[in-house]
């Protein structure tokens, strides 16, 4: 039988004992120490797309597929170009035949299932091209849902997939609000744009940026104040896709419009 005096003593000791580890964990928070010492790296890759400059030639898509060894004739691609056509009678069409791998070489809008819509040039009110790629979100939902730790964000902000670790469950493909992920037809693992990580880490531009003849695509380091991309993103009017999801996408667009999703 425990005395009342001992019961109170143990209660106080126990409470103190429980409080200590909590405080100790707070002191050695590795994330905080690292952030204080070096600010989690000096690089954060971001992308800038100028939709006014894009002509829909699709050289970026072709270069990306070859550079990143995505089977050329499979209907999957890490980056693609969308065409938006808004007609004078208020209809909206959008297409991206084969991800615009071969560009846009016809007036006809690809409606899918082999159907095409002919839109006369004089009926067009507004029309433009929008290149799409992985947004390398600051809060990537695809990474959150991975049950095995096969997809992750590198310290410089790029989201990568570990092909040896991916179990192919497809949660990340469902979780991405931008639809940039797909299964690699050869490796059967989740696949996505990684800003050509093998190129940017060597100081090269991504394959799509290099292939674009019109300068519609740019890659830069947002932590470098002298980077041309940083200057535009911080001083000009740029848009992001689906900001309402809270994913903080890091691909910025000049000339976005409400019909672009």
């Amino acid at each position: 039988m425990i005395s009342r005096r001992d019961f109170l003593k143990y209660t106080v000791k126990g409470a103190a004992g429980l409080a200590v580890p909590l405080a100790a964990i707070e002191i050695v928070n590795p994330k905080k120490i690292l952030a204080d010492s070096q600010g989690i790296g000096k690089t954060r890759w971001v992308f800038l797309v100028d939709t006014y400059k894009c002509v829909g030639c699709g050289f970026c898509v072709k270069a990306c597929k070859i550079e990143n060894e995505i089977p050329y004739d499979a209907n999957v691609t890490r980056t693609w170009v969308e065409r938006y056509v808004n007609t004078k009678d208020g209809r909206l069409f959008a297409d991206t035949p084969k991800g615009a791998r071969d560009g846009f070489t016809t007036n006809k809008i690809d409606l899918g299932l082999g159907k095409f819509q002919d839109v006369k040039n004089e009926d067009i009110r507004r029309s433009f091209f929008v290149p799409k790629l992985c947004n390398q979100c600051e809060n990537p939902p695809c990474v959150q849902v991975c049950p095995v730790g096969a997809t992750y964000q590198t310290p410089d902000g790029v989201v990568l997939v570990d092909r040896t670790w991916c179990i192919g469950c497809g949660y990340c493909i469902m979780g991405c609000p931008y639809g940039v992920r797909f299964f690699h037809p050869k490796y059967h693992t989740a696949e996505k744009c990684n800003f050509c990580y093998h190129r940017i880490s060597k100081g090269l531009k991504t394959a799509c940026v290099q292939a674009c003849p019109f300068g519609a695509r740019m890659i830069g380091n947002i932590k470098d104040p002298n980077d041309p991309v940083t200057k535009i993103v911080t001083t000009e009017r740029v848009g992001i896709l689906k900001s309402e999801y809270g994913t903080k996408p890091q691909v910025y667009y000049i000339g976005l419009d409400e019909e672009v999703r």
């Binding site: 994330k31 690292l34 989690i40 790296g41 939709t51 006014y52 400059k53 894009c54 002509v55 829909g56 030639c57 699709g58 050289f59 072709k62 270069a63 070859i66 550079e67 990143n68 056509v85 071969d102 560009g103 846009f104 070489t105 016809t106 007036n107 040039n121 067009i124 507004r126 029309s127 433009f128 091209f129 809060n139 990537p140 990474v143 959150q144 730790g149 096969a150 992750y152 964000q153 590198t154 310290p155 990568l160 570990d162 040896t164 670790w165 990684n194 990580y197 093998h198 190129r199 880490s201 060597k202 090269l204 531009k205 394959a207 290099q210 292939a211 003849p213 019109f214 519609a216 000339g255």
Partner: protein, 156 residues
């Protein structure tokens, strides 16, 4: 406690120990929680190196400059100067050792990527001159008449 409690308990502890030992060998040592914490930074650290080892295929026009200086300079004087060599000639990879010869894309479709007329307002495409591929010498390659390095017929 009684035997009937201890025996299954030992079995359970044994299974847990086995799982932990298997995990020790199966999970790579660099797998763990990294900079961005458990939610975004739970991964195998060496995978970053794996991705950096991917082969670079598109080398850029500076790679071509020294050996093909005549071609390099001729295209720089034309409106096609903005187009990278490899967009038509294919990725250099390790040319000239591998591949020794690049396959040039001379197809009409290659030229039509930009020169099919799509006069879309607010897109750069509207400013590029185009041809109707159904009526403009339809059975010939564009390069029969137009040199892509000097595309203007009058200065050919």
């Amino acid at each position: 406690m009684k035997n009937h409690v201890w025996r299954p308990l030992f079995a359970v502890i044994g299974i847990i120990v086995l799982i932990l030992i298997a995990r020790l060998f199966y999970v790579p040592h660099d797998f763990g929680i990294h900079e961005r914490g458990f939610m975004y930074g739970w991964y195998r650290n060496n995978n970053i190196e794996d991705w950096k080892q991917v082969k670079v295929k598109y080398q850029g026009r500076d790679y071509c400059k020294d050996c093909h200086s005549d071609k390099y300079e001729s295209i720089l004087k034309s409106p096609h100067s903005i187009i990278q060599c490899e967009n038509c000639h294919g990725p250099a990879i390790d040319h000239p050792s591998d591949p020794p010869k690049l396959a040039i894309d001379r197809s009409r479709a290659q030229c039509l990527r930009c020169h099919f007329p799509l006069p879309y307002p607010s897109s750069g495409r509207a400013k590029i001159r185009g041809i109707d591929p159904d009526t403009h010498n339809r059975d010939f390659q564009c390069v029969t008449c137009h040199n892509p390095h000097k595309p203007n017929l009058s200065i050919r």
